[in-house]
């Protein structure tokens, strides 16, 4: 092999090695940060065809409707807990902090947190993002099995 080719080969090997390591690193970081989305009944009964249940300590996202009358606040601190429902069993979410503006009983929310008991989640983030029906699309799909629809105009609103 002449020196020029040898140099070129070395460069190519170095580049390939660099690309390989970076892809590996990226995929590793990615795997660590993927959070699966569950609905309350999927959390209890299992998700997908294999009925996979999350394990205790797993980071996940959960979305459902806040069951009216279940929001309990601690008088002294900002600790709050509430129950979520979709079509079946209830799941309790505990959260420390200020809830978002759009959080209301009977409304759809998405919480991110860690599963601490089979049906209890310690949330570090509660989102009440919404489309025009005040329902996160993920929740709307899970609860009703419908695709997003353009909301019907309510003729009485505001009058």
């Amino acid at each position: 092999m002449n020196p020029r080719r040898k140099k070129r080969l070395l460069v190519i090997i170095a580049v390939l090695f660099g690309i390989g390591t970076s892809i590996g690193l990226v995929l590793y970081a990615l795997q660590e940060n993927i959070n699966l989305f569950y609905t309350p009944s999927e959390l209890i009964d299992g998700k997908g065809p294999n009925k996979e249940k999350p394990h205790i300590g797993q980071k996940l996202r959960i979305g459902g409707m806040v069951v009216p009358g279940t929001v309990e606040r601690n008088e002294q601190s900002l600790q709050v807990s509430f129950k979520l429902i979709d079509t079946g069993p209830l799941v309790t979410v505990r959260y420390q902090g200020i809830l978002p503006d759009l959080f209301r009983e009977g409304q759809g929310i998405v919480a991110q947190g860690v599963l601490v008991e089979p049906n209890v989640i310690e949330a570090f983030e509660v989102l009440a993002k919404h489309d025009e029906e005040y329902m996160p699309a993920e929740v709307a799909e899970a609860v009703k099995g419908i695709k997003h629809e353009k909301p019907k105009y309510n003729l009485d609103s505001g009058s």
């Binding site: 997908g48 996202r61 002294q76 503006d101 695709k147 505001g158």
Partner: protein, 656 residues
């Protein structure tokens, strides 16, 4: 009547853009100068009619014409007049119309400001822009007309603009962002026209550069304002969320940043030609991809409006035509492109090449993190999300070599460098930045984490090395002042851009490390301590605005028992839709922001409050603004202004 006029004039604009697409391209192909000469007038005419159409929508909104469906959904009679105007881009249909205004505006600007170009190239650039115009106008007219009526049963009151969007930031954020998005279509058109002509020389790069820089400036400014808006309006004190919609705008920005560095190499040295063309195609394709992500409804976000699968499909098809067509042409023509010019490893060429690599890798990471959840969901594998830590980690890793390179890059000359010349500057820069950073951080904070130290040092290093570069280059010309006068505008733009990045890195690293937040429950008279400030809750008063009512928590901020400021953190309830909105109270400062958000009423007169102390958070936006102005500076560069003489020369050449 007026809305129909708007629709009609949009139809006329579409007709003009069809002509703009066909005439000049056909004329350039057959060498028919008369057809090519029609292009500028068609472009200006198209802009005039789109503008008229947009004016019609604004008129409908200002006059509370709730028979127009768009106005009924996005405005109300109690909305202040300026928000009535901005509500015209607060929803999907109107936003797309604004996009059209921008698109037609850029096309008209190119038509007016391209007199120095040979007719064949000028006609092709305008023809490609016309083609893009056809696509977007067809989309608007067929699938997303903002002029649809709700007759005969129309509401007496509108549904009001989403309260989140009732903010000054919202007035300027979308137009700026769209200016940037659409502006990249000019770079794209130049690239396609150059490929069609088969002349990829450095004159092409020279023409394309000011347009790319300006679009890049607008995109950056739009991102900055968007970040500031999210910070002040969402009530979470965050300034970047790695939300798919933010990512959609970040990707074209990253590629455009790579493009303008690569363009400088192509212009000055005549190399990297095919790579530059590829970046120009990629930049606009990512703009379109962003539009697809935002408009197709495959994501959940504050930005995602009511969605419609047809719309997503149309944009996807258009994206396919633009990307596919662009890349096919590229593949056909690229073999004819030769890049000449030799350079050694330690050269500015290689530094800029590495810059491009880093920026493209960053883009790919953002793309992976944004598209993977969507692909996962569409494949029926269930809904997943990719957390912020992924993006943060990846960008932190990329930042280190990138920032080091950014400091060294300006020192390097084209072709080759002697190591001895660099050694002193680099050594001095490293030493100075370490000393400055250590002095700064250890004197201000008790605890300095290694990562914070590293990131801040990198920021200081970028700034210091830029300073060293200015000094050494100016000193060559005798006195410093004399030297400073001799620098070109594009050199100053580079300096400003790099200083901007230094501000952003420093701001991000310090605000992430030293932000403090506390959620507290307070009764009137209670005092909460956060860092050196005391927050005294003075109680809550009721407030009443034009279209909302609510409560304002009054908090006195004290430092050493002296009043610093009195903050009013509001909780608003909008009359229509009964939506609640937190209006955070912010005491902004160069070195720190005090940020206060009112939570809910707990029991009796106790309220929950969230208090943030965010040091140096403003530096992020200062940096963003500096960088964007660096982009606009090129408009003042004489080298890119074409004199009437060269224009005439080009004209007579092309007539031959």
């Amino acid at each position: 009547m007026i809305p129909e006029l708007g629709y009609f004039s949009l139809t006329l604009a579409m007709v003009l853009s069809v002509l703009l697409c066909i005439f000049p391209l056909w004329g350039a192909h057959t060498g028919n100068l008369r057809l090519m000469r029609a292009a500028p007038s068609l472009a200006v005419g198209q802009f005039a009619f789109v503008l008229l159409s947009f004016a019609a929508l604004i008129y409908a909104s200002l006059t509370d014409d709730f028979t127009v469906s768009y106005v009924a959904y996005h405005s109300s009679s109690t909305l202040p007049w300026y928000y009535k105007v901005t509500s015209t881009w607060g929803g999907h249909e109107g936003a797309i119309l604004l996009w059209l205004v921008m698109q037609a505006g850029w096309t008209a600007a190119v038509a007016v400001r391209s007199k120095s170009l040979p007719w064949v190239l000028r006609a092709r650039v305008l023809g490609v822009l016309g083609f893009l115009g056809v696509g977007f106008m067809m989309y608007t007219l067929l699938l997303s007309s903002p002029f649809e009526r709700l007759l005969p049963y129309f509401p007496v009151e509108g549904r009001d603009l989403n309260p989140l969007l009732q903010d000054p930031g919202m007035i300027i954020h979308p137009p700026l962002l769209y200016m940037g998005y659409v502006g990249l279509s000019v770079a794209f058109s130049f690239a396609i026209a150059a490929l069609l002509t088969g002349k990829l020389d450095n004159t092409w790069a020279k023409w394309s550069r000011p347009w790319t820089m300006t679009a890049w400036g607008f995109l950056g400014l739009g991102l900055t304002i968007g970040s500031w808006w999210a910070y002040s309006e969402l009530g979470w004190g965050g300034w970047w969320f790695w939300d798919p919609v933010e990512n959609a705008a970040l990707m074209p920005w990253l590629v455009a940043t790579a493009l303008l560095h690569s363009l400088s190499v192509t212009e000055k040295r005549g190399i990297f030609k095919s790579w530059t063309v590829l970046l120009a195609i990629a930049g606009f394709s990512l703009s379109l991809l962003g539009t697809f992500i935002v408009r197709s409804g495959i994501i959940v976000s504050v930005h995602a409006f009511a969605t419609d699968p047809d719309r997503g499909l149309f944009i996807l098809a258009f994206l396919g035509v633009v990307v596919g067509g662009g890349l096919a042409l590229y593949a056909l023509r690229v073999s004819q492109v030769y890049s000449e010019g030799r350079y050694k490893f330690v050269s500015r060429e290689v530094a800029l090449w590495l810059n491009n690599i880093f920026l493209v890798v960053a883009t790919l990471i953002v793309m992976l993190g944004t598209l993977l959840p969507m692909v996962h969901k569409e494949m029926g594998l269930g809904s997943i999300s990719i957390g912020e830590p992924f993006f943060n980690k990846m960008f932190a890793i990329l930042l280190v070599p990138f920032a080091i390179l950014m400091g060294i890059g300006p020192f390097l000359r084209w072709k080759q460098n002697k190591w001895a010349f660099l050694q002193n500057k680099i050594l001095m820069g490293v030493l100075a930045s370490v000393v400055i950073t250590c002095a700064w951080l250890f004197s201000s904070y008790e605890l300095v984490k290694p990562l914070t130290l590293l990131a801040t040092t990198l920021a200081v290093w970028v700034a210091v090395s830029t300073g060293i570069d200015i000094y050494t280059k100016a000193a060559v010309h005798g006195t410093l002042i004399e030297g400073l006068k001799r620098f070109t505008v594009s050199y100053w733009a580079m300096v400003l851009g790099h200083i901007g990045i230094a501000f952003i890195i420093a701001g991000v690293s310090l605000t992430s490390a030293y932000s403090v937040e506390r959620d507290v429950s307070m009764k009137p008279g209670d005092i909460a301590q956060l860092n050196e400030y005391e927050y005294r809750f003075d109680g809550v008063k009721t407030i009443r605005g034009p279209n909302y009512s609510g409560h304002a928590g009054v908090v006195s901020v004290l430092k050493n028992n002296e009043l610093v400021t009195r903050l009013h953190a509001e909780k608003r309830k909008y009359d229509i839709g009964m939506q609640f909105m937190t209006e955070a109270a912010i005491d902004a400062g160069f070195k720190r922001d005090l940020y206060l958000a009112l939570g809910e009423q707990l029991s009796g007169d106790a309220w929950s409050l969230r208090i943030y102390h965010k040091p140096f958070v403003r530096w992020i936006w200062i940096g963003g603004v500096l960088m964007s102005f660096a982009g606009f500076m090129i408009l003042f560069d004489k080298r890119y202004r074409t004199s009437a003489k060269t224009a005439r020369k080009a004209e007579s050449e092309s007539a031959l």
